[in-house]
């Protein structure tokens, strides 16, 4: 980015639209693209590990407390600290940001997978057995689909917090839209910061809605049911409390 001869004065507007126009094509678009890669790769990675790990935890009861303790301690570690420690292993690359965020995603998803699988009523399992389903077919066709709503709730939380956490990476130079924040501070110029915040919130919102739509598509049997009581929803929002580090 070229340094601009800019000094904030009292008559200076909060947002300089001309700056946005000038930078939209390259800098902002580039940062946005980087942000997409940095926030969605960990989601896919976390999901790919959380499913088998969750299935294993639901099957072997002894494993679950260990995994749960590890993930809850891990979840409490600030992202910036994990980014810095990882630099020693990955150098300054996308992986530096992607691995920690994948770990956070995993921490949110594993309990969701386990609770989802355990929430399948016993008589449903017995019906599947009675219909001649083998254990694998029962898992894929009966148990996992029934666990989708709980897993999706966790996925939505992880996605939204990943999208905002990526920007912390800009402290070590890999932060997608977060680069707009550091630019704004270096030049004492609010426009890029406001643009960055707005784009991050918009991206989080759109992703959340898209995931909700995917969930509706995947669980046709849930449609038309009366939605759960609001306090239940609140409780679920709470159990996956967490957020930005």
């Amino acid at each position: 980015m070229s340094p601009s001869a800019f000094a904030p004065g009292d008559d200076e507007p909060l947002i300089r639209w001309d700056w946005i126009e000038r930078n939209l094509g390259d800098d902002i678009a580039e940062a946005f693209q980087e942000h997409l890669i940095l926030s969605f790769t960990p989601i896919l990675l976390g999901l790919a590990i959380a499913l088998p790990l969750g299935i294993a935890c639901a099957r072997w009861r002894r494993l679950y407390p260990v995994v749960l303790a590890a993930t809850s301690v891990l979840y409490a570690v600030p992202a910036i600290a994990l980014f810095v420690v990882l630099v020693a292993f990955t150098g300054l690359t996308y992986s530096t940001v992607i691995y920690p965020l994948a770990l956070y995603t995993l921490s949110v998803l594993v309990p969701g997978v386990v609770d989802g699988l355990r929430s399948v009523p016993d008589h449903v399992r017995q019906s599947a057995d009675a219909m001649g389903f083998g254990p694998l077919r029962r898992l894929v066709q009966v148990e996992l689909p029934l666990a989708i709503p709980v897993v999706m709730a966790g996925l939505r939380v992880a996605t939204v917090s990943n999208i905002s956490l990526v920007s912390v990476g800009s402290l070590i130079g890999i932060g997608g839209l977060g680069e707009l924040f550091t630019t704004g501070l270096q030049r004492d110029f609010p426009t890029p910061i406001i643009v960055g915040i707005a784009l991050i919130i918009a991206l989080a919102l759109v992703s959340d809605v898209l995931l909700l739509l995917v969930q509706r598509l995947l669980t046709p049997w849930e449609r038309g049911r009366v939605s759960r009581r609001p306090e239940r929803a609140a409780a679920e929002a709470v159990t996956v409390a967490g957020g930005e580090r």
């Binding site: 600030p78 600290a81 420690v85 920007s167 912390v168 915040i197 991050i200 609140a234 409390a241 930005e244």
Partner: protein, 228 residues
């Protein structure tokens, strides 16, 4: 892996343990800012959550629930660093105030939502019994609903505290003291040992906080609630 060893060596130099940039004074600074933010957050969010959870009648109750729950989701989407930088650029106040505002804004929702949900989820039968014993609204809240909601309230507080500790780390970028200084200054000097040392200290502080809350829950959650 060598990088980690040399970062651990960073802890052994005696100059790390002296003066205003020494480890003890940075730890004290970090804990002080975090506690300050935490106390302000709890003073705002806990009474609000308890009262909103307690009031269940009226047309507004449903709307309140929706608003409280969405505040938690909205807070997750807000980028901390952006808010911090914006607050610092737009205010001309002293150093601490513009930093404390985003710190508290982001930490309020977890405490608020958990207190609200904790009180909401108290079984109606329990409340009826308390009223039957002649308790008034305030007594029901303080003697029945609060103890039953305690585990969730503590979870919310723990989430908020962890978040405050990490936000305070990031706030070093806009000039706050504390452990984040090692990371931010180290990055500016290309001194990886200092960055990793700071990161290890932050991780240690977060883990200690986790254990502190585990201890607090043993002390404050009544045995009757724990057994359920």
């Amino acid at each position: 892996m060598n990088a980690i060893w040399s970062a651990l060596e960073w802890f052994t130099f005696s100059q790390q343990w002296r003066g205003p940039d020494g480890i003890p004074s940075r730890v004290v600074e970090h804990v002080w800012y975090s506690l300050l933010g935490f106390v302000i957050t709890v003073l705002i969010a806990l009474p609000a959550g308890l009262v909103l959870g307690h009031v269940r009648r009226g047309r507004l109750a449903g709307l309140t629930g929706f608003l409280v729950t969405s505040s938690a989701n909205a807070a997750r989407a807000l980028p901390t660093l952006g808010l911090l930088i914006l607050a610092v650029i737009l205010t001309s106040a002293g150093d601490l105030v513009p930093i404390l505002i985003p710190l508290v804004v982001l930490a309020v929702p977890p405490v608020l939502v958990n207190a609200y949900a904790g009180v909401q989820q108290v079984e109606p039968g329990l409340r009826d019994a308390a009223e039957g014993m002649g308790m008034r609204g305030r007594q029901v809240l303080l003697r029945v609903e609060l103890p039953v909601a305690m585990p969730l309230i503590l979870l919310g507080m723990r989430t908020a505290m962890i978040q405050i500790i990490s936000t305070a780390t990031i706030a070093a970028y806009v000039g706050l003291g504390g452990l984040g200084r090692y990371i931010v200054d180290g990055y500016a000097r290309q001194d990886y040992d200092s960055m990793a040392g700071g990161a290890i200290l932050v991780i240690a502080l977060a883990v200690v906080t986790q254990f502190a809350f585990a201890g607090a829950s043993r002390l404050t959650v009544s045995p009757g609630v724990r057994a359920r």
